[in-house]
Symmetry: C2
DNA sequence: CGACCAATTGAATTGATTCAAGGTCCGTGG
DNA sequence: CCACGGACCTTGAATCAATTCAATTGGTCG
């Protein structure tokens, strides 16, 4: 609503292999890709629900706030991910660009086949949230970080290096810890020889096995 | 699969007002009601997915375990709730009866309209998980308990009294704390005059306003 | 180069856990 | 009917993981 500095970008065909995404695109009226600079709001809490959003490039965070301003990031969405699916007329969460993201809006066709597709997406998202619940409720800070890094490692195909498009406070609010703890945990993993921080936003996984063991 | 002491009970018509549940029943092949005594497993992690389950009476807990045996209860299901919806061929979580529960199995019709109904259920469940994420990641033990009690108060229509069908360790594993902390938090709420514990499984809410304020 | 924001590190504090000791509830059997 | 046993719950004391607050370092951009 406010601070939306969306710069339209010429429509380009989506290049995703994921057959489910292709189907979804085929069964909806895909719009053009809009560019949202870092920290720009895509939709706010209270905005009308309706359209879905496909991440073409970049990263998006889905946030929910408590009354007194604490933030929980419920998920990060990367290229190929779909977000914006929520019950009710109004969004409960807000979506923000993390690092400059290209977003394609999808106006859902109101067909039954579309619901079937959406159900698939919802269920997949479901499984993610399920394990996020375990992470938040039952893992230590070290385990949370290890689990997060493993997740990124699996999703990115950048070899043994993980790219962190978000800053420490985002990671903290995703993992339910403070950003200082994120720093300290990274140091622990470094000292144990499990990772190497090659840049602020780049981590080399030296011992994936150890990381997975830790992540539980 | 093991320890399943399900005792068939004569089929009785579902008495739920919820139009969505009625629709779901109409569009599936509802089975008879089975009784699962306390702590009986309804399905285990790894069991085949497929049927849905409707809680006719009693309470069900959906659990996920870490490799080393820590447990996170991802949701409690009460009369009228539907569970068992998961992506993939196998269940990631297990479902157990908490206090002796009557469960009706629903074999989904493979119609498109059915997917639409399921999508609705999935999205509603979704919103619940979303706020559970905030609870686990960003609330203090006191706030978690207050939030839990508010939720029960809203769901049950037993006036200002809340019934706890589950034991302390279940609450603990749902809130991401220990059962000792559950006890201590209840004591704090008692000392502040917000609640009164009239029985082990019965809590009178003396000051709902204070509870809601606390809950976030 | 200087200014600013992000990230790291340190020290003190705290909220929650762990471990251990009672207490309460409830069913069972004498 | 009451004593006993076991499971659950409560409470206390010590410990610990993570937070808070504060200072410093590092990186980036005009």
């Amino acid at each position: 609503m406010f601070a939306q500095t969306a710069i339209p970008i010429p429509a380009t065909p989506s290049h995703f292999q994921d057959p489910d995404v292709r189907d979804l695109l085929a069964q909806s009226q895909p719009g053009t890709v809009s560019y949202y600079p870092a920290d720009a709001m895509i939709y706010a809490q209270g905005d009308d629900t309706g359209p879905l959003y496909l991440v073409e490039f970049g990263t998006v965070r889905i946030c929910q706030m408590t009354a007194d301003g604490r933030r929980q990031i419920t998920s990060f969405c990367y290229a190929g991910d779909v977000f914006g699916l929520e019950p009710g007329e109004e969004h409960e969460c807000c979506a923000e660009s993390v690092d400059g993201a290209g977003i394609r809006m999808l106006r859902p066709a109101n067909s039954a086949g579309f619901a079937q597709k959406l159900l698939g997406f919802a269920l997949r998202h479901f499984a993610r949230m399920q394990s996020h619940l375990v992470l938040l409720g039952r893992l230590s800070a070290n385990e949370k970080m290890a689990s997060f890094l493993c997740d990124l490692l699996d999703r990115q195909d950048t070899g043994d290096t993980v790219v962190l498009p978000m800053q420490r406070s985002d990671i903290a609010d995703y993992l339910g810890i403070t950003f200082e703890t994120v720093s300290r945990v990274l140091r622990v993993l470094k000292d144990r020889g499990i990772i190497r921080v090659t840049a602020l936003d780049r981590i080399e996984i030296l011992d994936p096995g150890a990381l997975r063991t830790l992540s539980d």
